[in-house]
Amino acid sequence: MSELALAAHPSPELRLPRLLEGISYHDIASLRDHGQRYGPLPLWGTSGRRRPGRLIDVVDASGLTGRGGSGFPTGRKMRSVASGPGSAVVLANGAEGEPASCKDRLLLTRLPHLVLDGITLAAHAVRARTAYLCIHGQETELRDALDDALAQRRAVDLDPVPIQLRGIPARYVASEQTAIVQYLNGGPAKPTFSPPRPHQRGVRGRPTLVNNVETLAHLALIARYGDRWFRGAGLPSAPGSALVTVSGAVRRPGVYEIELGTPAGQVVMMAGGPAERPAALLVGGFFGAWLPARSAWPVPMCHAALKAAGGAMGAGIVVVLPDSSCGLAETARVIRYLADENAGQCGPCMFGLPALADAVADLAYQGGRGRAAERVAAMAGLVDGRGACRHPDGAVQLVRSALRAFETDVRWHDHRGPCPRVSRAPLLPVPGEADWDWA
């Protein structure tokens, strides 16, 4: 790491918050605020220890992994993009597709320059000549705010590679990386059958670095404070901090910054603790998993531990399901949504997901004949792993986790019919249900 950078801007002593340190609930951090807090953009020189690619070594050493859900090592991805043929493209993914997540939106609306710094630093490191920031097209307010932030940077000629803002359709599968790439190439915003992966052949056939905006914000800090500083929080195997969105039956729902490896229960306590007796946690979002509250409480929030517990880190989502809600009914609502959101490309997903949604809805709202659970498991087996993208697999993972976490409820529903809790108002934020008539 550049000693100069370290000397000019001593790294913060406090472990956390890191990303959210400069956040204000009233104002967007201007370029001036940002500059005062973090100093100038540490664009590295052109040769030796200060050559642009050196940042890749630092990111590699930091152990930073993708914060959008994949958990892929960022340094490794940068390296393969940098070594690809032709000039590279950087694509920052700020199109937050997970309805229960709002961390990316928080970063973009409150701390845009942290993300924009990350884009420019990544572009410099992989020698990209094109950089995009993708958000949902219909979020016009966010678009205006980012346009404004980009104008502030243009005025002082901050970004050698201009950052182009692009709106993509707000569909669940549209923010999958191959879908964004296909959309920027003039096609529909739907996943493609890969390989080649975007890091090999992406936008206009060029090697494309697709990173979540939070990942790039971490990168902006790593470039300033170094890999050792980054490793000063989190676990040796999962270093750094991460933003998590905590919602459901908690007293203070919101976005929190945690050290990776913080037990899930402690994350719930950061959000004010359970507002009701918790039954289960949905960890990782709609492609994540239900874990019974008791067993989820001590599980460290990091990819490896959550995977071992049958869940997923995803984009850092924790939803607390209270004892008074029916986990099967909640799952039925999510699977119906995921079925409706399928891209209409692959037969097994196009026909299988609606059939799976029917089976889960039958278990949640009908049942009583002792056959519904079996049919859910059979349908899950039929769609698992059979799409071009992971959309069907994500839905199946959630369904299977529900069968495990709500085992007692599954038996009750299957043999006696719906439990009394199915009539409780929905908990999970499922888009497109707003017009339901509750009367």
Binding site: C346, G347, P348, F351, G352, A355, R386, G387
Partner: protein, 69 residues
């Protein structure tokens, strides 16, 4: 040489020709789309697999050849 079958699920329209030509490896799901019982093709079925891949009307089935080793 070893052989591996791959279905491009986006291209596949569920014509089902492959399952007729290679029932040893391919069966159809309730909606008529192919399910591979194993991606790897035993040597004895390689010719049948080639024929099945060639017969797919939308070229969604590919037979990938791996050199041994």
């Amino acid at each position: 040489m070893s052989y591996e079958l791959r279905v491009n699920p986006i291209a596949c329209d569920g014509h089902g020709v492959c399952a007729e030509l290679l029932p040893e490896i391919i069966e159809l799901d309730p909606w008529g789309y192919p399910v591979l019982m194993s991606a790897e093709v035993p040597r004895g079925l390689a010719e049948h697999a080639k024929r099945a891949a060639a017969a797919c009307p939308v070229l969604a089935l590919a037979l990938v050849t791996h050199p041994d080793g």
